[in-house]
Symmetry: C2
């Protein structure tokens, strides 16, 4: 369906958002144009600023516009414990559980040879360097309990063996095949509490 | 939950989209930041352009960046028949039915005294002027079959009585309480076909 070029382009562009099909994209475009131009302008501006300004934390690789994210920059956090997760949304989920006072390392992915994602792409050498340079005592592996998440945890465990740190895996309690960010905070708190030393 | 100011602002701004709660806004922001910056930049640009450039058709009031929309500007359409709808999305739905060759008048709302929306806000005088100046023969009222949509159709019918045009109401076939834009094209085609003269 052709509206007018500017509207067509907006409907098209909205489809880059996850979960937005042609019908919802049209609803969104008309909603903004008919009822919330100010919201539309603000969204344009904040999109532009975030796409431009947000990079990765130089210590934990999560998304932030500062050189170091707020957690890495916080001297009250326990910097001797690192929790390894797949994505920034997992950091959010774990923070919401309120059970964790350590720091993070965000892989920004998981090992997936079929997609060409190897140890370098998920920053494993960066993690190893950080563990050696700082006095890290424990690494908690909180990758998702999926086949690829488990393989990633297994690979990192093998790399960490020689470094003399305690390596633990987040407790099962997170449902198998599930994704951290969709688990309720109670389950997450429980899973962290019940973590087991695996190396 | 606080990420970093630029990400917080983006998550917040995404909530101006209809049907987007805090959880989906977060997913959208992370998706763009982690995997589709180009899509994010493009969306920012097309939002800006559309919010800036899209206005209302001077003849039918629908959304367009031209003085007249493509339908009003099309001399092959039947300009002696006007279909009155509540919103631009209704034009899209009726066009998709493929049954209509006339033009439109888009109220951009419906009578709703409680919200301060009277005849002037929905452009009734503009519609009357157009009917008098052009040789309009039939006005099809295709407001939604809701209480307010029916009241709007009733009011417009009363205003049109003195003008000597045929006034018809879209056939019931559109489910009562339903909204045009969510009705399948077959039902819409049928409803147009079975319209009845009411004045
Ligand atoms: Zn960090
Ligand atoms: Zn028009």
């Amino acid at each position: 369906m052709a509206y007018s070029p500017l509207i067509d382009q907006l409907v098209d562009a909205l489809r880059c958002l996850p979960g937005v099909g042609p019908k919802s994209a049209q609803r969104m475009a008309f909603h903004l144009l008919e009822r919330d131009r100010e919201g539309g302008f603000k969204l344009a501006q904040h999109l532009e600023q975030a796409m431009q300004g947000v990079n990765r934390c130089e210590q934990c690789r999560t998304l932030t516009e500062q050189p170091k994210c707020a957690i890495c920059a916080n001297t009250k956090r326990d910097h001797e414990t690192i929790c390894v997760v797949e994505a920034p949304s997992d950091v959010v989920a774990l923070e919401q559980s309120g059970q964790y006072r350590g720091t993070y390392f965000v892989l920004m992915g998981k090992l997936s040879p079929i997609d060409g994602i190897g140890p370098e792409e998920i920053g494993v050498s960066h993690l190893l360097t950080r563990i050696q340079q700082q006095q890290v005592k424990e690494v908690i592996l909180a990758t998702n309990p999926t086949v690829e998440g488990e393989a990633t945890a297994y690979y990192i465990t093998a790399q960490l063996k020689a470094l003399g740190v305690t390596v633990s895996r987040i407790a099962h309690g997170v449902p198998l095949g599930g994704e951290l960010e969709f688990v309720d905070v109670g389950t997450l708190a429980h899973a962290l509490e019940g973590r087991q030393v695996i190396a």
